[in-house]
């Protein structure tokens, strides 16, 4: 039963990808391409490009796309349900635990050490994305301008992204039009 297999394969991918989207990619490659043969490597690269250009977590994007290719709308729904199942179960357990023990001094002590760890991880994500995206003078200037805009104004992220998209069209498309 391919629908059930889809659910299970994505459940496994969701369960073993700790630490965010990009950790998931080698797992998808192993499960979906090598083990089940539901996708070719070229199709997989297409999906990555699409996942990056559409909103939402890469895990959901790839589950929906691969599920649809393999089992239609129902396949898309089941693959997506599979990839979020571990999050749902574990996060509800964690939230219920913390609701009771958040004030516990050992829990508080743990969070005291966790906060700098989280900040460090976000900084290293920023460095990672910056390395990949600040490739020329224009993109570095754009990144710097957006950073200053965010720090010194109260503009929320979404309008800032729209402005950046317009700037991208102005910088990289109109000059060659």
């Amino acid at each position: 039963m391919i629908l059930f297999e889809l659910y299970l394969a994505f459940l496994k991918i969701g369960l073993f990808s700790i630490g965010g989207g990009y950790v998931m990619l080698p797992l998808i490659q192993k499960e979906i391409i090598e083990r089940h043969g539901w996708l070719t490597l070229a199709e997989f690269v297409d999906i990555l490009a699409i996942a990056e250009m559409t909103p939402g977590p890469i895990a959901i994007n790839s589950a929906t796309f691969i599920g649809f290719r393999t089992g239609g709308i129902l396949g898309a729904a089941l693959a997506t349900a599979g990839v979020v199942t571990p999050s749902v179960v574990l996060m509800i357990l964690a939230a219920a635990f913390l609701r009771r023990f958040y004030e516990n001094r050992w829990v508080q002590a743990a969070f005291h050490g966790l906060r700098p760890a989280v900040i460090a991880l976000i900084i290293s994500a920023a460095v990672f994305v910056a390395r990949a995206s600040l490739t020329d003078l224009a993109s570095a200037a754009l990144g710097g301008a957006v950073f200053l805009l965010l720090i010194f104004t109260k503009l929320p992220p979404v309008p800032v992204l729209l402005l950046a998209a317009l700037a991208g069209v102005g910088l990289y498309y109109l000059p060659y039009f």
Partner: protein, 187 residues
């Protein structure tokens, strides 16, 4: 259960899901904006704690945070409202792309727009550091620990999960040590 709150959770996370490109860390500033700045549902510190839990568990950080925050605000129905909200936009958009065509990414104008969005995402994440980091980077202990973890992550490529575990261990053992010394300093 308060229907209004559930609807509110759904709509807020739908907005988050619909507007965050690049996944994972790129969603953090948008979630922070909605949860901390716009709605006052969480304090800055509570949000960092949610991120700590969300990052140390399997699954996408955005999905984990949605389920966690939904539960925190409105129990199990809340976690499902938030989950559906954050998942539906990408689900629907990907279905459209898969049904109609997968080639839209190759239009030069679309490519150019994304060439502008990518550096902005780096700036957004860096901006989130400035906002989230304020309480943590306020003393020398926080700065020291953050730099140490950053070094592990950037230069030694240590897996995020180990950095999270190490953070918890450092927090608990430093509290235990200060207690041993009889200082009675609260963790």
């Amino acid at each position: 259960m308060d229907q209004g709150l559930l609807r509110h959770l759904f709509i807020t996370f739908f907005k988050i899901g619909a507007t965050t490109f690049g996944g994972g860390y790129a969603m953090i500033p948008v979630i922070r904006q909605e949860m901390v700045s716009a709605k006052n549902w969480l304090t800055n510190e509570e949000f960092v704690d949610v991120l700590a839990v969300a990052q140390s568990s399997p699954g996408a950080v955005a999905i984990n945070s949605a389920v966690f925050i939904g539960y925190k605000l409105a129990g199990i129905p809340g976690s499902f409202s938030a989950l559906l909200g954050v998942v539906l936009p990408s689900f629907l958009i990907i279905l459209l792309v898969a049904v109609f065509f997968a080639q839209f990414a190759q239009y030069p104008a679309v490519e150019a727009a994304f060439a502008g969005i990518r550096p902005a995402i780096a700036a957004l994440i860096a901006g989130a550091v400035v906002k989230l980091g304020k309480p943590v980077l306020g003393d020398s202990r926080g700065i020291l620990l953050t730099s140490f973890f950053l070094l592990l992550s950037l230069y030694f490529g240590v897996h995020p999960v180990f950095i999270i575990i190490l953070g918890a261990v450092v927090g608990m053992s430093s509290s235990w040590l200060s207690e041993e010394k009889g200082k009675g300093e609260s963790p």
